[in-house]
């Protein structure tokens, strides 16, 4: 067993879990935050993407104990109170989702992408989201959402 102790969406969390607990399982099962999804067991789909110290990572490919002492943000932690994050707003406005399963991961990856480079070409968005698969294949609207969020985030 290992003590897992880190900042989650701004709050300190701590729990004793088996060493082999994946970070995504810790978030979903121990913390009860089920916005972070699991879509594969080959580290390829990106449904589980969260931010570790502001950097996007696949939470299915990290042990919870490896995150000790660090800061984690999940999809539940990006809105400012009742106001959605501009990326969430843009997915909403542009219908950037169909079933919504890939959406939390898409949004977490897209936020890092746009923060690193506010002026992205369509090609760069497509390449930047290579680690996120949409089984509904709704990529067209996803790209539009990211473009529109990038505009909003530049103006912010």
């Amino acid at each position: 067993m290992a003590i897992v102790d880190f900042k989650f969406n701004g709050e300190s969390v701590s729990a004793d879990v088996p060493d082999n607990t994946l970070l995504v399982d810790f978030i979903r099962e121990t913390l009860g935050k089920t916005g972070t999804h699991v879509g594969c067991d080959t580290s390829q789909c990106g449904a589980c993407v969260i931010h570790l110290n502001g950097v996007s990572i696949k939470s299915c490919t990290m042990l919870a104990v490896m995150a000790n002492g660090q800061e984690i943000t999940s999809i539940e932690g990006i809105a400012g109170g009742k106001r959605m994050h501009p990326m969430q707003e843009a997915f909403h406005e542009n219908h950037g989702l169909q079933c919504g399963f890939c959406t939390p991961g898409m949004i977490m990856s897209a936020i890092e992408l746009v923060s690193n480079k506010p002026n992205l070409t369509e090609q760069e968005i497509r390449e930047g989201l290579e680690g996120n698969l949409c089984r509904c294949t709704g990529y067209h609207n996803i790209i539009q959402s990211v473009q529109s969020a990038a505009r909003a985030m530049r103006e912010d």
Binding site: D19, S43, Q44, G46, T61, M66, G131
Partner: protein, 267 residues
């Protein structure tokens, strides 16, 4: 995933002490954790190298030294790499996806020696030196076949030194699903030319002597046109038959040479 124990080491020596008989090192975990999830590996102990001070990129004049725990993103975005060996930055930028590159490390990639991994081709073509906890190993003596290296049990890669070439480029034909190399060719030009091929060989990364001789003679895409690439001992799988891989080796070589001649020259 099977039961395991996790521990962080504070130095390379500490890591060796903690590994014991059934321990395994963990770096970015981007290869090890997926195989553990599929129950293809069952280490009793995972020793994390994160706190051993093994990350970082140094310009040493004629060479660039990259710490084994340096992530793919850090190589991709390093000014030192962009100035000295831009082909290495391009290679790192094409590995998997952003989230894989945020965690995956150069040391883990080389230690793993996946036959479709990108870095082994750069290490071999650039004639890099692999520094470990007990010795230095030149690239030609390091890769020993699919998933095999000359690393001994509990030997830790600490850094890799890449001599700066006059020109270099990496051309990769990615598997569209996994983004690993279906065929990747790294061409490096110094006094002679070295050509290393990944993704194609049944025994993992290899140098192609005939291509090297032709390109040392004339460094142009046309120089390889008449070379016959044998498909013997090339990987034959659902993604590509071995003849197609042989064809891709020549094509990727030409693309890499063209890229060298167009933009990749460094002084």
């Amino acid at each position: 995933m099977y039961q395991t124990n996790y521990i962080r080491a504070s130095s390379t020596n500490d890591a060796i002490a903690k590994l014991g008989d059934d321990g395994k090192l963990i770096a970015g975990g981007m290869t090890l954790l997926p195989i553990m999830k599929q129950r293809l590996a069952r280490p009793k102990m995972l020793v994390d190298l994160a706190d051993c001070g093994l990350a970082g990129i140094e310009d040493l004049g004629d060479t660039i030294k990259i710490g084994s725990m340096t992530t793919h993103v850090d190589v991709e975005t390093s000014q030192i790499v962009a100035n000295g060996i831009p082909a290495l930055a391009t290679l790192a930028a094409k590995i998997g996806d952003r989230q894989v590159r945020n965690r995956g490390t150069i040391g883990g990639s080389i230690a793993n020696n996946d036959p479709s991994a990108c870095y082994p081709s750069a290490v071999l073509a650039l004639r890099a030196t692999i520094h470990t906890s007990n010795r230095d190993i030149v690239a030609d003596d390091f890769f020993m076949g699919m998933f095999e290296t000359s690393l001994e049990d509990n030997e830790i890669i600490t850094a890799i030194s890449f001599p700066k070439p006059t020109a270099a480029a990496y051309a990769k034909f990615p598997n569209p699903a996994s983004r690993f190399a279906m065929v990747g060719v790294f061409v490096a030009k110094s006094e002679t030319v070295r050509v290393a091929v990944t993704g194609a060989g049944e025994d993992g990364v290899f140098r192609h002597e005939a291509l090297e001789i032709a390109l040392t003679d004339l460094f142009a895409p046309d120089a390889v046109e008449s070379i016959i690439i044998s498909s013997d001992e090339l990987i034959n799988d659902i993604h590509a038959p071995r003849d197609y891989r042989a064809h891709l080796i020549k094509e990727m070589t030409k693309r890499a040479v063209t890229a060298c001649n167009q933009s990749q020259f460094v002084s």
